[in-house]
Symmetry: C2
Subunit: 217 residues, 2 copies
């Protein structure tokens, strides 16, 4: 499935895997998607990658290090997706901001394993320095967008952009983790999660003086 270093169709694997690190990260994603971050084990990842149980230790100190790396990559992709959705505030800040929200949920929906590794893990961010930075980069997209969005408001009723970003992030994460998570047994919702988020964001922004009167659309 992943290791064909001898060109397309070259199945000869040989003693060296050649791409084990990547294969292990893929395996971790698969296992997390199936059983949650807690269900992941190094031994099973090795088995999935077609390699002996000792092999992963050449690449990762332990299971936490592997999951942390998954989370780092997840934050990286997440940031990319958000940046693309924001599209530097085009066509206008408000619409771009809404696209950002939709992209947030779309990411959680499309990549439950990444999302779980990023937010539902108990690994200490301090122990894996790259993690903190990766998370910060993703959040910075939201923060900058919020700043741009409210930059047009008169100074005297312009709220702190960090606060706005935290509100939007919390609402998005709340909806994502209550209603979007891919696993069984999450609560049912009488409307699409995207609509719920969009309505919430619009109402919120309305109170700031952005986004016209009644719910648009």
């Amino acid at each position: 499935m992943s290791w064909t270093r001898h060109g397309p169709g070259g199945e000869k694997r040989g003693y060296h895997h050649g791409n084990l690190r990547e294969a292990l990260l893929d395996a971790a994603l698969e296992l997390i998607a199936a059983k949650g971050p807690a269900g992941f084990t190094i031994a099973e990842a090795a088995r999935l990658a077609g390699v002996s149980p000792a092999a992963p230790y050449r690449h990762f100190r332990d299971a936490d290090a592997l999951i942390a790396e998954v989370a780092v990559r997840g934050f990286g992709r997440f940031a990319d997706v958000l940046i693309e959705a924001w599209n530097d505030g085009r066509p206008d800040a408000l619409r771009a901001f809404e696209a950002l929200g939709r992209a947030y949920l779309a990411f959680a929906r499309a990549n439950p394993a990444y999302y779980a590794a990023m937010f539902e893990t108990r690994i200490a961010a301090e122990a894996h320095p790259g993690l903190q930075a990766a998370g910060d980069r993703a959040f910075a997209v939201l923060r900058d967008a919020a700043e741009r969005l409210i930059s047009g408001l008169p100074r005297e009723n312009r709220p702190p952009p960090l606060m706005v970003a935290l509100h939007i992030w919390s609402l998005s994460h709340g909806i994502a983790s209550l209603f979007v998570r891919g696993d069984p047994a999450r609560r049912k919702l009488p409307m699409p999660a995207e609509d719920l988020l969009e309505a919430g964001v619009l109402l919120y922004l309305q109170s700031l003086g952005l986004a016209g009167g009644i719910k648009s659309r």
Copy 2:
């Protein structure tokens, strides 16, 4: 620590524990608080309760059933706390609603183990019917409060109460799970989570025509 059925100071335990079911639930809370819902095992709970590893099976079919029971009780306490905070809309709906929000976060902060069992578990609600009902009861408090809160608005711009409740719940849960969780390595916040939630709720309500002009307080 928990089983003294022979009055105060009576340490004699005897063959029968007498209160094992409760002791196991306590042990589960302790273990979940220390290592998360995934770190919990029946064997360790039995050890904590001072009982052989086979004993728990007299009371619970498996670990999931035990955790589900913890979650059910958690939702029960949660609902109680919310009801008390709402206080039937006194002194007025808006202030009672804010108290509700603070109570939400206070519960998550004070009972991280319950909160984790309620929201960070992968047990299927369908498999444990009481769970669904317990969760619904807690949410109903929020829903009824939202309904009362907006009941004074003119009918034409009165939003669906369910939607309002879902927004508030999502925002609260988002803040709780991003910033309040008791375990290590959660993100730092430049302000108390309670203030963040209160500001968010006020802004949101303001757009509905509730809660006067600029942030109060």
